[in-house]
């Protein structure tokens, strides 16, 4: 397939009191070998198609964004079946389409909706998958994302990536150079941005809890760095770390009970683990160098972190059992920091610095192989997608901070652009909160 450039503009917000800046998705490079698929516009029964909940358009956009599919555009569709009887596999085969998705959205008497879809294998001329979902007005977009996840899993084996949320920090500068910082969460396609926190002081390092119900982050709102845990649904938050000096780089343990963090209260930035409920604090590193940016291995028994103990920042791994010595993990170049561990623990994405250029790289501890995935020059904050297939990160384009994503093999890149302000420090929620 030829490389394609697809620009998908986001519709505006639903509610004037929500954040007024919306993410646009701009796919900058396609991928050779993407599966040709056609998502035929769904039939709407009992109601007009809702422009802000166009289910088939959402599915098309998700599948394109994954980098695994090359969806046919509507204007190129010679037929638009909405029921199985209307499907003529031969015409789709001739058009070079491997898979076909059709469906319908039906308004019920009580104002709710029923959404159904069918996925067909065109070459085998048979249905592969078909589901029906109840939805209400608010959840129609999420049903569409779930359908995208079903299709993604069925055709690629990958776990879900669309029916979840991302969090990020934005900053915007007013004319008198005053900065306003916001912590926002949005759907993975940038829709529905909601502001959790607005502040005149910096916000840093948002991280989702494993159950996607909470976000931990660093806020300077009271004049110094402090770590909060913020419950998304209730809006309530708890300050969990306000020690002297640095309180930073929170990271949730896989069992949700602990936060790894960076504290300098004992004289020097070191890694500590806080038990969230009883507030018991244990120290993990004790070294005069900078130790920070701890992240957990999926078994919850060791941490990967950044340390300057060999002179420049490098990644180390340490077991949480007592008396364990950190072992160095990165050996190339003279700057490796800001690790993100893949969901299966087999890959570590990180920031590789060479001179003035900072790029995202991924290394495989088992083989010690490393691959550089991005071009820089100021790429940072890598974050694995929950299905391990992509890495979300912060980048700069024309001097403006944006979010971007790259596939784990480096073959597909895309950019998510906030329509105003600067965006950074993305965190990808592991599973959609139901």
């Amino acid at each position: 397939m030829k490389l394609k450039r697809i620009i998908i503009a986001a519709a505006l917000l639903f509610n004037a009191t929500l954040a007024n800046a919306v993410l646009n998705i701009d796919i900058t490079e396609g991928v050779e070998g993407a599966m040709p698929i056609a998502v035929v516009p769904f039939r709407w029964v009992g109601s007009q198609k809702l422009a802000d909940a166009d289910v088939s358009a959402i599915i098309t956009s998700d599948l394109a964004r994954s980098g695994k599919f090359s969806p046919l555009s509507e204007k190129d569709m010679l037929s638009k079946p909405t029921t199985p009887e209307q499907v003529d596999f031969k015409t789709w085969r001739i058009a070079g389409i491997d898979h076909l998705v059709i469906g319908a959205v039906q308004l019920q008497k009580d104002g709710s909706y029923q959404v159904q879809f069918r996925l067909f294998d065109v070459l085998k001329s048979q249905q592969v998958l078909g589901y029906s979902f109840p939805a209400d007005r608010q959840s129609l977009r999420y049903v569409a994302h779930r359908i995208s996840d079903y299709i993604l899993e069925q055709l690629t084996g990958l776990g879900p990536a669309f029916d979840t949320r991302i969090a990020y920090v934005t900053s915007s500068r007013s004319a008198n150079k005053k900065i306003e910082y916001k912590l926002q969460v949005a759907d993975t396609d940038g829709f529905n941005p909601q502001t959790l926190l607005t502040s005149k002081e910096p916000i840093m390092s948002p991280v989702w809890s494993p159950d996607s119900r909470k976000i931990a982050y660093v806020s300077f709102e009271q004049g110094k760095a402090e770590i909060y845990i913020h419950d998304i649904s209730s809006g309530k938050r708890e300050k969990v770390a306000s020690f002297d000096g640095i309180n930073g780089a929170p990271a949730w343990s896989p069992d949700s009970n602990r936060l790894a963090m960076t504290l300098s209260k004992d004289g020097n930035p070191d890694i500590y683990v806080l038990h969230i409920r009883n507030k018991a604090l244990s120290r993990v590193t004790n070294h005069w160098s900078i130790d920070t940016e701890a992240v957990w291995m999926p078994d919850g028994e060791s941490l990967v972190f950044t340390s300057s103990r060999s002179g420049k920042p490098q990644l180390y791994q340490v077991d949480l059992s007592a008396g364990s010595t950190p072992k160095r993990v990165t050996f190339e170049g003279n700057y490796s920091a800001n690790a993100s561990v893949s969901p299966d623990g087999k890959a570590i994405a990180f920031v590789l610095g060479e001179g003035n250029r900072f790029r995202i790289a991924v290394m495989y501890p088992e083989t010690r192989l490393m691959q550089v995935l991005t071009d820089g020059p100021q790429d940072e904050s890598p974050e694995f997608a929950p299905n391990g297939s992509m890495i979300l990160y912060a980048s700069q384009v024309n001097g403006r901070a944006v979010l971007a994503a790259v596939s784990i093999d480096g073959g597909h890149k895309q950019r998510l652009v906030l329509s105003d302000g600067e965006v950074r420090e993305p965190s990808w929620a592991p599973v959609r909160k139901k």
Binding site: R173, P202, M204, P313
Partner: protein
């Protein structure tokens, strides 16, 4: 890095021995040259105002009365210390400045400062918070060495989060690698 800090402190000790006496009224009686660090210490005239010390090519008066920190002609009006890339060592050309602030704080015991550490945008954010903290800690150590007390100093590290210059080039980076002294 630890070694370099010790050496710097040792060199400061030596220079302190060669330095001028402090008058009872708190004004510095300069006379000798303190040229080792690229700063020249001028003479103090009868009115008690120093003819100057240099910083970044500009000449400033040296005195430690309470209002000196707000006097644009006084060295103490300069409150930003700049650093080299990935370094938290106090540069030679800023050692004198920090020492003057330390002396001021020693003589004005009610003075309190916020010491804010910053980095340029390069590299990862949380690592930069730690690096910026180190810069502020290095300044604090020198202030304490000159007689300030620990409870006069509060350190906040902002990493790269609060740049002075929003550009993405060497010029901006140079201006962002800094520690700022803010008298409260």
């Amino acid at each position: 890095m630890k070694k370099i800090i010790f050496v710097s402190i040792a060199m400061l000790l030596l220079s302190a021995c060669a330095e001028q006496a402090i008058k009872d009224d708190g004004l510095m009686d300069a006379g000798a040259s303190g040229d080792q660090y690229g700063a020249t210490v001028g003479s103090v005239d009868a009115a008690g105002v120093g003819s100057g010390t240099m910083l970044a090519g500009q000449e400033y008066a040296v005195s430690y009365e309470k209002s000196a920190i707000n006097d644009p002609g006084n060295i103490l009006s300069q409150k930003i210390i700049y650093f080299d890339f990935d370094s938290s060592d106090i540069r030679e050309d800023y050692v004198e400045l920090v020492k003057h602030h330390g002396k001021y704080m020693a003589l004005n015991t009610a003075s309190r400062i916020r010491l804010e550490g910053h980095t340029d945008e390069r590299g990862s954010r949380e690592y930069n918070v730690a690096l910026a903290d180190r810069r502020a800690q290095a300044v604090k150590r020198l202030l304490l060495f000159e007689g300030a007390s620990s409870d006069q100093v509060t350190i906040i590290s902002y990493g790269e989060e609060k740049p002075a210059d929003f550009g993405h080039d060497e010029q901006a980076w140079n201006l962002n690698r800094r520690a700022e002294i803010i008298y409260e």
